[in-house]
Amino acid sequence: MICSKKQKITMNIIIYVSLITISIFCLLPFLWMLITALKPDIEIRTATPSFFINNITFDNFKKVLFDTGFLGFMKNSLVVSLIVTIISLAISILAGYALSRYKNLKGIKVTNMGMLISQMIPGVLLLVPLYIIMQKAELLNTYYSLILAYTTFVIPLSTFMLKGFFDTIPFSLEEAAEMDGCGKLKTIFSIILPLSIPSLISTGLFAFLNAWNEFMFGYIFISDDSFRTVTPAIMLFQGAHTTDWGGLMATSVLAVLPVTIIFLFLQKYFIAGLTDGGVKG
C-alpha cells in the first residue's frame, strides 16, 4: 500500500486494536473455562464472579484425570477421530479426483449433486433410523458405529475440498504419466498426492475436528463407558440435582487441548491448503 508513514502507524494501531478486541472476544469463554477449572468449589458458586482466584487448586483436574474414566474417553475419541480421518481422506481422495477429472460424465454430475444434497439434512432427523440400522448390525456400543456415522458425514465436504484443490493441478502432468503406462491409482499416488500435501492436511484436520467435537451421535450410540468419547462424557458432570462445574470445566479444557495443539502446529498448512483452491465450491 502506498501511503505516508503517519498513515501507516495509524493503520497499524487500528489493526492491532481490532485484532486484540476480536481475540478477547474469541478467547473469553476459553479463559473463563480455564479459570473456573482452577477454582475450588466455594469460589465457583459465588454471587460475585471474579477473574481472580483466591486459592488456585488443581483438584478439579486431578479428579477428572484420575477419578473418572477421562483418559479412557480421550483414548476413544482419539482412536475414532484418527480412523475417521484416515478412512475419509482415502475415500475423499478417490472421489474428489473423480469429481475433478470426470466432471462431464452424467454419473459424476449426479454424485456431485447427491453430495451437495446430503449436506442439507438435519442430523437430528437421522437419529432414530441410524440407531436402528446400527442395532440390527450389532454395531451399537462399538467404535464402528461412530466411525461409520462420522465418516459418512464428513465425506461430502472433504471431497469438495480436495476436488477444489485437484482442479488446480494441470492435467498435463497426468497425461505424461499415463503415456508412460501408469495406472490411474498409481498416477494419483505418485503425482497428485505429493502436490496436495497442504490440502490433505487441511482436509484431514477438518475431518478430525468434526469427529472429535461430535456430540449427538456419540451420545446416542454409546452407552458403555469403555467406548464413550470425550464430548458426550462432559454431560456426565451434570448430575440429577447438582452440576459439578469445576469438573465440567476441567474436562472441557482437557477436551479442547489436543485439538488446539495439533492446530497450532499445522495452522500454516491449514491456511495454505485452503488457499490453493479450497473453497470455491
Partner: protein, 431 residues
Amino acid sequence: MIKKKFIVLMSVAIAACLTFSACSTGKNSSKSKENDTSKVTLDYWVCWSPGSDTEKNSKAMFAKYESEHPNVKIKYSLITYDMAHDKLVTAASAKNTPDMSWALPEWIGEFNNMGMLSDLTDYYNKSELKSAIYPNVMDTMTVKDKVIGLPYQLTIRALLVHKSLTDAAGINNIPATFEDMLKLGDIYKKTEKYPFGFCATSVRTPQELIGYLASNGLEIATEMKDGKYKNTWKDDPAQLAKAAEVFQYYKDLTKKGIVSPNTKAWGWEDEDTNFATGQYMMEVTGNWMSERETTNPKEMSDVAITAPPYKEIPATYMETNPTFIYTSTEHPKEAFDFAAFISGKEYQQAVFPVTSPRTDVVSDVKWSKDFMNIAKTGISFPPVTLGGITTAMTDSLGKTLQNNEEPSTVAAWLSDEINESLKQSGEYSEK
C-alpha cells in the same frame, strides 16, 4: 518419492492397527457374555455424578456383592438421567435395553406402557423388602397390583429456610400457606433480598407444580372406572377454579415482588444455586442440598427445614427412584437378587443413608430426620406416560409468567393438553 510412499504406507499401517485393536476390543466385550456361560454379567445403567461419594460407595458395594456371588459380574455404565431416558426409549424400540438401571419416577407409566418392565410382584412378595420399605413408596411403583420397580432412593421436598435472613427481615413465623407467603410483598424493599424462589423451566417445574396442585386438592389425571385416566378439571367448574388459583399464586408471587423477576426462566440449577449462595431466603427443594454445605459453608450454615406452603391441605412431592429390570434381560433371577441387595439395609446404609426408602435406615441428621417427618403428605405422578404432560405443565407456567395469560385460560389449556397427551398414549378414559 520413496519418503512419500513410506508415509502413505505408515498411515495405512497405523489405520489398520487401530482398526484391528478397535475390532478386537469391540468383539471381545460383546462376546464375553456368550463365552462365559458360568458367569452372569448384569448390564446396569447408573446416573451418579463422576467422582461423587455415591460413586465411591456404590463401587465398593458392587465389589462386595461380586465377592459374595462369584458367578455374577456387575457391569455398570455411567449416564445422565436425561440421556438414560432417551436411550432407554430408543433402545426399547430396537429391543436393546440393559438388564437393569436407575430411573426417575416420571418414567414409570411410560415404560410400563411400552412393556419394557419386568413384573417383580412374585419376587417382591417373597422378599424381606415387603416389611422394610415405606408402603406409600411401593405404591408409586405398583401399577394395577403389578410391582414394576424396587426403590433405591427416596427424596421428599421441603421448605428450606435461611433462618438468619428471615430473622433479619422480621419474618417471625415461617409461612405455612399460600396466604402467608403472599403477605411478604414488602420484604424485598426492606432487605434487598427476595423471600422466595421457584423454578419455571427444567424437570423440576412439573414436580413443584404438582405439589402445589395437590395442596389445593387437585390431581392432574384421575383414574376412572375403566382403569384409564382423565383430567377432570373441565368437567367440574370448582376444580377448574382451584387450578386457576394455583396459577394465580405463581403470578402473584412474581407481581408482588416476593420472587425475583428472573424466576420465570429459572431451572433447578438456578433455583438451588441462588438459594445456596444466599441470594434469597426460602426454597422448596430436596435433601440433596446437604451437599451445598460443603460448597457454600457460610451461606448454608443457617438452614432450617419445614413443610412446603400449601393452599388447602399440606402436600409435598415425593420422589421415589425405582430400579427397573427390563423384560429383555436374560437373567431375571440374578437381576432381582441384585436389585434386592441394592434396596437392602447394608447397601442403603452405605450409599443412601440420608435418602433411603427403608424404614430402618434413617439418620439423625436434619437432612434425613426433618425431611422424613413430612413424608406422610407425599404425593407423586400418576402412572401414565408423562412426556407430553410434563411438557404441558412447564409450558403452562411459561404461558402464565412469560406470556402473561389469564390463569383460568391456562388452567383450561393445561387440562386439554393433559387429556390430549393421554389420548396419544392410549390411556385416556372415555367415561
